[in-house]
Every structure is written in structure tokens, then in C-alpha cells.
């Protein structure tokens, strides 16, 4: 069973900076070509004759992937994690043959289906029915295959009534559901999935996740990229972490994610400014563990430098879900007060939070810094992400969108009907811890 289906060796991809974002005008090429001999002349005259790389240097290159080697066996469900720009998408693009590697090679056994985006090639003017066929053809499905699965796709998307309506009249939710329904019915041996689950409502996300998992149990191989760590944990068994184009860790998915998150927390922080403060550092750290876990203690610490004299410093910290729903908020002033701070002085404010009541998933911290002496509240433009690792709460079952994001500590109670014999009641009672 441990047959290798994907073998990548020394895979590297170089991009010329600016090439991706900006197309060239013929004029640029011509003027460059025209300027080159003169550049030489100039160098020659100024006596720098070895400096031939001048013209080339304005096209800096970046290795989006650098010497990546790995093997994936049949039926493996692999999560790829890493910060933005780590090379995750580039890797998926190479595996799905959209772009070619600069060096190295990959051997793949089996058809590859790629879901790098939901609804690729959808045309707004066409109806749902027409788009199903078009999108399926683009993803590489045969017409007969689509015809066979058509009803299943439509009912999965829950759009039976609107199947002959142009998709431009669809709500965005319907659009995403339809698009994902087509993709979810792709039956390739290997499936490559990029951050496509970030769209759609929680309930539909859950449905998609279970569909993907079902695909995986059929012996198909899945490569899954997401910033939603709960989703990666929920779907994948193994994984690897990419950072700056290289693999920095691999193994069992929970280990990979835990290690990755531990790194993310200590990642160096770029300073942010508001009119009155400079935020030097924001840390969100677990106090007694390697990673942040439900019902464990965490510490949120904000280091600031005052840009002017602050008469009455204060701070608000909000905790938001990735959908920007506010889960909690704390105002520092309600718990403690800070003496006036002079311009240029550095100080810290923060909270230790016992028994963090957040379930596994990604959350964001929103920060407002204040000077109540001048009635100034300044919202920090950046949100700071942190990850709560999925742990054994609620009896250790997998927690998906149905469980929300707040962790509770319930005690079950029950009142049994009189008809139930005392014996059974005793028995049931014994089940309750």
C-alpha cells in the first residue's frame, strides 16, 4: 500500500521580481535594448569595465521554492502549512502543471485534479446548469461523467430551484456552493486543494470538509493547503511545513502544526504606528505549554513607545474570529491603571487570561490604544493572528463549525421519565462523569 504516487526531487522555482505583477511594454524592452550599449560605453568611460551586470540587476529574482524534495504515498492526505510567501501555492501550481519548475522534477502516478480556486471559468451570463458543464470541462471532467453526476452536484449545492438562472443573479453563497459542488465531484486519483475553503458559510464549509474527507477515504491522495489550522488538522494525517521556499519540518500533522504555530508566535514583529504610539511588539503566548490550547493560560502582551506625552494611557484588546465576529473584549482600564508616560518612553500593557475559553481555530486580536486624558482612541490597523490548537475537550471528538468558537465547561443534567426503571436510571447516571 505504501506505493509512492508523487516524488519530487530538488524542486526549485525562480521568479523574476516584478515579473508576476507587471506585464512589460514593448517600449521597455526596446529602450532597455537601446540603452544597453550606452551603459557599456558609460562604464567604459568611467573605467568600470567589469560591471556588466548593471542592466540585469534591476530584475531581482526570488526563489519561491528552493530544493524541495518529498514523497507522497497513495491514499495519503497531506497538509502543507507555512506563512504567506513560503511557496505553498507555487508548489501546488507546479504539481498541477500550471507552471514549470526552474530546476528539479516531479514524478506523478495518476491524474491530478487541482482546486486552486473555486469557480474557475464561471461565466456570469450563463446559467447554473451551463456553468456546471463548463466548469467541469475546465477541471478536466468528461461530459458523460458530469451528466451522470449532475443531479448529485445540484443537490449538493442546494440550488435546485435556480439551476436555469444566470449565475450573475445568484447570491454569493449560492455561487460558491455551486462552484464547490462541481469541484467536490472531481474524481481524480490525486487532488490538489488550495485555500478554497475560506469562502462560504460555516455550515457549507463543514459539508465540504466531510466531502473532502470522504474523497480521501476512497484511497485518493490529497494535498491540502490552508491557513485554517483546524481544517488542516481535521482533514490531514501527515504534513510538512514550508518556509521561504524550503521544507522545514514534516511528519504527523498535529506535530507539524504545533511546531509551526510555536514558531509563528515568536516570529519577529514589524512595528506599527498610530498617531500617538508605536507598537514595538505584540505577543500572544501560552504560559504553561508549547502551544495555545483550550482552557489553558495565555498571556497577551503589548509593548509600546509613546510618541508624545500620554496623560492617561489605556488599551482595548478584542478577540475576533477569522470572520471578524467579536468573541470577547477587554478594556485595560477596567482592571488596572497606568501612570502618565512621557514622550519616547517605552512601556507594556497586557493580560494573563486563565482557562482560555476558545476552541481550536484561528483568532485575531484587535488593539485600540488610548490616551483618555485627551479622549483619544486609536485603532491599530493590523490584526494579530493566533492559533488555538485543537485539544481534547468535549470527550475528544473532532470539533467542527457546529461547536462554535467558545469553549464551555458544561455539566450534563437529566430528568428521566417515571416509566424508566430505577435500575436503568442508575445505569445512565453511571455514564455521566
Amino acid at each position: 500500500m505504501s506505493e509512492v504516487v508523487i516524488r519530487a526531487e530538488h524542486l526549485s522555482k525562480r521568479y523574476v521580481l516584478g515579473q508576476r505583477e507587471q506585464y512589460r511594454l514593448l517600449r521597455d524592452t526596446i529602450t532597455e535594448a537601446a540603452a544597453r550599449p550606452f551603459a557599456h560605453l558609460r562604464n567604459f568611460r568611467s573605467g568600470k569595465n567589469g560591471d556588466r551586470t548593471v542592466a540585469r540587476q534591476d530584475h531581482e529574482t526570488i526563489w519561491a521554492l528552493n530544493d524541495v524534495s518529498f514523497e507522497i504515498t497513495r491514499g495519503e492526505i497531506v497538509g502543507i502549512v507555512g506563512p504567506n510567501g513560503a511557496g505553498k501555492s507555487t508548489l501546488l501550481k507546479i504539481l498541477s502543471r500550471i507552471t514549470k519548475p526552474t530546476k528539479g522534477h516531479v514524478e506523478i502516478e495518476g491524474r491530478v485534479g487541482s482546486l486552486l480556486e473555486v469557480g474557475t471559468g464561471f461565466h456570469a451570463e450563463l446559467s447554473g446548469r451551463e456553468n456546471i458543464y463548463l466548469n467541469a470541462a475546465i477541471l478536466g471532467m468528461r461530459k458523460l461523467e458530469v451528466a451522470r453526476k449532475f443531479d448529485e452536484i445540484v443537490s449538493f449545492a442546494e440550488i435546485e430551484k435556480f439551476i436555469d438562472t444566470p449565475v450573475k443573479r445568484y447570491s454569493s453563497g449560492m455561487y460558491v456552493r455551486l462552484a464547490f459542488a462541481v469541484a467536490a465531484h472531481l474524481e481524480t486519483e490525486i487532488l490538489v486543494v488550495d485555500e478554497v475553503l475560506a469562502v462560504g458559510d460555516a455550515q457549507f464549509q463543514k459539508k465540504c470538509l466531510s466531502k473532502l474527507r470522504q474523497v480521501g477515504t476512497d484511497g485518493r491522495t490529497i494535498l491540502f493547503v490552508s491557513h485554517n489550522m483546524a481544517a488542516v488538522r481535521g482533514i490531514c494525517e501527515t504534513g510538512f511545513q514550508l518556509d521561504r521556499g524550503g521544507i522545514v519540518g514534516s511528519g504527523e500533522i498535529n506535530d507539524v502544526i504545533d511546531r509551526y504555530l510555536a514558531q509563528v508566535i515568536t516570529r519577529s514583529f514589524v512595528e506599527v504606528e498610530t498617531p500617538s504610539f508605536v507598537l514595538n511588539n505584540v505577543t500572544i503566548e501560552p504560559l504553561n505549554a508549547d502551544v495555545i490550547k483550550t482552557f489553558e493560560t495565555i498571556e497577551i502582551r503589548v509593548a509600546l513607545t509613546a510618541k508624545r506625552d500620554i496623560g492617561d494611557p489605556g488599551m482595548y484588546v478584542g478577540i475576533l474570529t477569522t470572520e471578524n465576529t467579536r468573541v470577547a473584549g477587554l478594556d485595560f482600564k477596567d482592571f488596572s491603571s497606568v501612570p502618565p508616560i512621557k514622550a519616547g518612553e517605552r512601556f507594556e500593557m497586557g493580560f494573563v487570561i486563565d482557562e482560555l475559553p476558545l476552541l481550536g481555530g484561528t483568532y485575531q486580536i484587535e488593539i485600540h490604544v488610548k490616551d483618555m486624558a485627551r479622549h483619544k482612541i486609536e485603532r491599530v490597523a493590523n490584526l494579530f493572528q493566533f492559533e488555538v490548537a485543537e485539544t481534547s475537550v468535549y470527550g475528544g471528538r473532532k470539533l467542527d463549525a457546529w461547536f462554535g468558537s467558545v469553549g464551555l465547561k458544561p455539566t450534563p443534567i437529566q430528568k428521566l421519565p417515571a416509566a424508566v426503571s430505577d435500575e436503568t436510571a442508575e445505569h445512565r447516571k453511571a455514564l455521566v462523569p
Binding site: 506585464y23 511594454l25 516531479v106 514524478e107 502516478e109 495518476g110 474557475t120 451551463e130 463548463l134 486519483e189
Partner: protein, 280 residues
């Protein structure tokens, strides 16, 4: 064991791009359904939310014909090889519009479909190819009008009409040849978009649409035929009206020009193909 063999069939090796790659018609054939659906999409979407719909396919060439007949036929009295001028012009306008439309659409096709290029793999040739083919429906609609017009003028096409599909195919090959070059170039250089507009206008003057090739001096005809559309247009007149000035040798020059451009275009396209997703 049987399944082992099918597995090895679908095994794949992804490697850095080489300078020269084959055209790989087999893979193109495997993606024929995608070609069909993309063409179908272009046709289906073209006249959505228009009042006149597919009538536009007739209106455009008919109005061109009226204008040409008025200014070139009636006022400038351009000789038309003894054929009534409206038929003479209309017969040339149809293949010309097929060509001009196909060149425009296919040249812009890669840039217009960049969302597909960056998110899915398929042989990129499918895109300009479907753009060329999608113009065929408009052409066929207008062809009925042309045949009606010919009959109305009392001309009965002879056996030569069976060669017409050949000339239609030839016009499309010519358009594809140009479209392959321009679409691949436009991925890198967006200037191409602006070039196309006046390229097509110049090309119209270099093509015997409003006039007959017979006004070109005999010794210059071979040079004139370097424009493959000259061969196509004269071929159309020959096939439908039975008369054409100077087709013979011109056609061969045109065929060779198209073949060379088409093969060159295919190779250039294949060579650039692997970069499309990175730079589009």
C-alpha cells in the same frame, strides 16, 4: 496487473521547460471537450442581452456591403470583373470578417482568459483555437444571406462550390497563424492589443475586398499573394461566382505563407506556453 498498466499510462514527469517542445496533438485531442465547451461559451455569451441577437451577424457585413457598393461601386466605379458589385463585395466581405474577427479574438484570448491560465492546466492552444472557431457560427449565418443574394442576381454557383469549405478552412488557418503569434506575444507585451486594431485595418486595404486582384500588375501578383487573404478572397469568388481574376499561382503562394506562419506560430506558442501563467 491490468490496473498496473493503466497506472503507468497516466504517470507524468514534470520538468523544467526545454526550448523546443513538440506540438503534442494527442494531448490536444484529449482536451477536445474543453475546446468544445470554450467555443460554445463564446458563442452562447456573444449576443446575450442584445435585442437583435444573432441578427448582428448579418447586419454588420450587409451594411459594409451597402457602403462599399455606394462608394466604391457607384461613385468610384471600381471594376469588379464583370460581377455585380454588391455580390462582388459581399462575397469577399464574409471571409474577410471571419478572418478579421478570428484574428482579433484569438490575439486577445490568452489575456482575456488569464484567470484560467493561472488556475488550471490544459493545453493552452485550446484558447486561441476556440476563439477562431467561435466566429464560424456568425459566418455561416451570413453565408446563407450571401447565397440568397447570389441567386437573386441570377448567378448559379457551379461545381466549384464544393471547394468552398477548403477556402473557409484556409481563412481560419490564416487567422490562427496570426492569432498564435499575437496571442503569445500579448501575454508579455500588452502593446499587441493596440497593434491589432490598425493591423486589421491595413490588412483590409491589402486584401481584394473592395477591388479585384486584377488591378495589381501581373508581375507583382506573387508578391501581392504574400497576403494569404488575397488567395482566400479570390478563392471565394472563384468557388461561388465561378469567376476570379488571377487565382492560380496566387493561391500557392498564399498556402505556403500560411503554412510557414502557422507552423512557426505553433512552435513559438509552445515554446512560450510554459511561461504564460507566470507573466500574464
Amino acid at each position: 496487473m491490468a490496473c498496473q498498466s493503466t497506472r503507468s499510462l497516466s504517470s507524468l514527469r514534470i520538468e523544467p521547460a526545454t526550448r523546443w517542445t513538440s506540438i503534442d496533438l494527442r494531448e490536444l485531442w484529449e482536451y477536445r471537450e474543453l475546446l468544445y465547451f470554450l467555443t460554445w461559451r463564446d458563442i452562447k455569451v456573444r449576443y446575450k442581452q442584445t435585442v437583435l441577437g444573432a441578427t448582428w451577424a448579418i447586419i454588420q457585413p450587409v451594411f459594409m456591403m451597402v457602403v462599399f457598393s455606394l462608394f466604391f461601386g457607384k461613385l468610384a466605379k471600381v471594376p469588379s470583373d464583370g460581377i455585380p458589385y454588391p455580390v462582388f463585395a459581399f462575397c469577399a466581405l464574409l471571409p474577410w470578417q471571419l478572418f478579421a474577427h478570428a484574428v482579433g479574438e484569438s490575439s486577445n484570448s490568452l489575456v482575456g482568459n488569464q484567470q484560467l491560465l493561472t488556475k488550471v492546466y490544459f493545453p493552452r492552444l485550446v484558447i486561441p483555437l476556440s476563439a477562431v472557431i467561435s466566429g464560424l457560427v456568425d459566418f455561416l449565418v451570413a453565408l446563407f444571406v450571401l447565397i440568397g443574394l447570389i441567386l437573386w442576381y441570377g448567378i448559379v454557383p457551379g461545381w466549384k462550390i464544393v471547394t468552398l469549405p477548403g477556402f473557409i478552412l484556409f481563412a481560419m488557418c490564416a487567422a490562427l497563424a496570426v492569432g498564435l503569434w499575437l496571442s503569445a506575444l500579448s501575454v508579455k507585451y500588452r502593446d499587441v492589443r493596440y497593434v491589432i486594431a490598425f493591423l486589421v485595418q491595413f490588412w483590409l486595404f491589402a486584401t481584394p475586398v473592395a477591388y479585384a486582384s486584377s488591378i495589381v500588375p501581373e508581375k507583382w501578383r506573387a508578391v501581392y499573394a504574400l497576403n494569404p487573404m488575397a488567395g482566400v478572397v479570390e478563392g471565394f469568388r472563384w468557388a461561388l461566382l465561378g469567376k476570379s481574376s488571377a487565382l492560380g499561382s496566387m493561391l500557392w503562394v498564399s498556402v505556403i505563407v500560411v503554412l510557414v506562419t502557422l507552423l512557426g506560430g505553433l512552435y513559438y506558442f509552445r515554446r512560450m506556453e510554459h511561461e504564460f501563467a507566470d507573466i500574464v
